[in-house]
Symmetry: C2
Subunit: 250 residues, 2 copies
DNA sequence: CGGGCCGTTGACACAAATCAATGTCCGTGG
DNA sequence: CCACGGACATTGATTTGTGTCAACGGCCCG
């Protein structure tokens, strides 16, 4: 077990343990998974549509987007993955990609072979369950994404996305202000929300009016409650730190 | 093992076996799951937002929608479930509902306790994997739903939905025409696509122009290729009958 | 110095929402 | 049997949010 890998995968173990209960042995088994780190340039599609992959990808650094392309050429981002996320754990059970994965900014990823993931899931049912739960959370985020692009107005939709990302990045308030790096262009934000970059730009202007700014890839939220209200944001769907008693008693 | 239950759950086994390889023993274990059938009236929410459930739901008959409600009162349907679908297998690993489940029409459902589902998943890793795969397909459908409401125009979006449902219902062409029952109102279609019922009505008029009609809850598609082209539909994401050699060699 | 990429702004077009009225069907009760 | 009410479908007039097109400015990087 390489120390390097152990420290890399520690983030993954930590993520799983935030929602599932794993014994030391089970945690160690995940630490020991073989993993191959690689750096991906911005805008590079490291999984293409229709491609059959033999590994799942864990994000160590950067920002990864799941892209779906439609005939007319416009692109829709259906998921964003930040450090600590598995982008496609489901590829273990469905290895042919139905959407592409692209690094939105220069990113470092870890490729973990399906064979190893399947082996650990088969040996430890609790690990299989933790994987399943992790994917379930991704589905919940995706369902909220549908709501966001489906029936919220642009400013509300953008507010919701910023709230979600602040939570997922576990941003802490500094004197009432939440500030974090968010390396997306306005055009990419448009692809995520089904809007044009022009409209994103104007909508950011509106958010400025309630104390939320996005300049130079830095989000700054001065009034969290107001942003949540505008975005109709309820963090419940993120299932943060759901590992209480009911999980132990199974 | 009751014959009644066996015939009910046979649909579920069939579904799982269309994408996963299960031994006879594993199939029998699913057949033997305890299940409680119940009839749900149209418009009744049988799982409410925030509720913690102890069972997953299988649709025997009717049509079930997954609903998300936003502050302003408008509703967004994020998934449709037809007979043969599990609506919330993921509730085994995340029992607190982050969206509601409602019968769109009078429906018959089967409630299967989480304890039983978890037990069979723990005993048979291949079953756990089949469950996981089934959920992965739901995620792929959800991702397409994002694309649909996010960046397609109304007529394209509606066309895509009708194509998807025709495939999921496994509709066969009759003299080049696909015809099937689809018990949704125009208002519900609007909730699914993030459009108003008025606009759905007008858009259905447009689809009439390319030989697709929806009258009296019956969809009739005279020109499949044209509808697919309009909806930019590629059925690949539905993962129909993905159970070939690569799955056996694992 | 020059060429891209990104952000910003304005004028205009258009798709879809909204508001409102009317029509149709169907179940219910007088 | 007919009158009524409610849910759903249909249609028209108008408004509005967002897209499109276009131009310009800042900035980084080669």
């Amino acid at each position: 077990m390489s120390t390097l890998f152990k420290s890399n995968l520690a983030l993954f173990v930590e993520r799983l343990c935030s929602r599932s209960v794993l014994s030391q042995e089970e945690q160690d088994a995940i630490h020991s998974l073989p993993a191959h780190a690689s750096q991906i340039d911005a805008h590079f599609d490291f999984v293409r549509l229709g491609e059959t992959v033999a590994y799942s990808t864990f994000v160590l650094d950067g920002l990864v987007g799941r892209f779906d392309q439609i005939g007319s050429g416009s692109r829709q981002i259906t998921a964003l993955h930040i450090p600590g996320d598995m982008t496609d754990l489901h590829s273990v059970v469905a290895p042919t990609a139905t959407s592409a994965l692209e690094a939105l900014t220069t990113s470092t990823i870890l490729k973990i072979p399906h064979t190893a993931l399947r082996a650990v899931a088969r040996k430890y049912p609790a690990v299989a369950e933790a994987f399943w739960r992790d994917e379930a959370v991704n589905s919940m985020i995706l369902a909220q994404w549908v709501v966001n692009v489906g029936c919220r107005a642009a400013k509300s939709s953008l507010a919701h996305l910023l709230c979600e990302m602040a939570c997922r990045y576990k941003v802490e308030a500094d004197a009432g202000t939440f500030r974090f790096q968010f390396p997306m262009t306005q055009s990419q934000l448009g692809d995520a929300l089904g809007l044009t970059s022009v409209h994103i730009n104007r909508t950011l202007g509106v958010l400025g009016g309630i104390g939320t700014s996005f300049k130079g890839q830095t989000v700054c939220i001065e009034d969290w409650d107001k942003l949540c209200a505008l975005g109709d944001f309820d963090r419940g769907y993120l299932q943060e730190n759901i590992r209480p008693a009911q999980m132990l008693a199974r």
